[in-house]
Amino acid sequence: MVSTLTTVWLFIFLAILSFASLYVLMKKRSVAYVLASYFLSNILITNTGIIINLNLELTKQDPSSQLIFWTQKIPELSLKPALLLWSIYILFSKRTIFRKLIYLFIFQTALVSIEIYFVHINYLEWVHWNIFYGYIRYFVIILLLAIYSFYLEKRIYSDKKGEYV
């Protein structure tokens, strides 16, 4: 069984990579776009997470120690939003639809895998939840984020051009 400390270090390493990747994304897009999308992705992850866990009781978690608690929070605030933002970047890129779908599937699998890992190390329990529901959850988040990003990108573009919408 993987120790808690190893898991924490693993997610800290992935968090550093995630934030570095977001910095790269800022160069490709804009600071405002990445910041607003990062905040919204966190809002969507947290809200859906609370609804699934606390309100609908489809999953169960009872962090007994601060270490376990923060092990779950680190990827929620870094890796998951980074994967979502890169998904949106791929979605609006000039790749073919087939390639976009493959990339989106890989990113979604990575997102769901984080939860599978937590279930595997007994930090999270799936009561009435499964992998398929996990995919649906992230599909909905990506969809909402894509709508918001599309609107925000338009705003940023029009602000830069000096238009006033």
């Binding site: 947290t46 609804i51 309100n55 705003r155 919408v165």
Partner: protein, 165 residues
């Protein structure tokens, strides 16, 4: 239920409705000094911060406070996160961008705003919007100082790129 309705429709719900309506009216009445892009970033940033507080210090194992009637994520929590919380930093940043206080004046301005926010939080505690189970108003004051300073810094970065016209 996905988002439970209040157990009892009482003081805290009325407080949230009235304060949200009041801030919305003020939002449209007071002159705006922020670009739409800055508003997006500031608004999502503060929803993110409010949720971050709720999912870190507002739940187990920390459990320093809870909002409204119970520990579930209620419909009125959404109002609180999406309308009530972000409006105060919005006004703080809006007035800052209008008058641009510098050095000592800026410090006095941030302390004054934190004082106003504390007064509003004290009222909301009286209306049982927040129930402290280990949290203190003095701690909130320190948090507000940091949050308002971060908001002002963030607005300066975004306004430099996407200025209000």
């Amino acid at each position: 239920m996905i988002l439970p309705l209040p157990e009892r429709f009482d003081a805290n719900e009325i407080f949230i409705i009235i304060s949200s309506l009041l801030t919305l009216v003020l939002l449209f009445l007071l002159p705006r000094r922020l670009s739409v892009v800055t508003i997006h970033v500031i608004w999502t940033f503060n929803i993110y911060l409010a949720l971050l507080a709720d999912i870190t210090i507002g739940i187990k194992p920390n459990d320093f406070y809870f909002t409204i009637d119970h520990e579930k994520h209620e419909l009125f929590d959404i109002f609180l996160h999406f309308f009530t919380y972000p409006s105060i930093p919005y006004f703080v940043v809006n007035f800052y961008q209008q008058y641009k206080p510098k050095s000592l004046n800026l410090l006095v301005y941030i302390i004054f705003c934190a004082g106003v926010a504390i007064a509003l939080e004290w009222i909301s505690v009286k209306f049982h919007v927040f129930t402290y189970t280990g949290w203190k108003l003095s701690l909130s004051f320190m948090v507000y100082l940091v949050v308002f300073a971060a908001n002002i810094g963030l607005s300066n970065i975004i306004e430099k790129k996407y200025p209000f016209k």
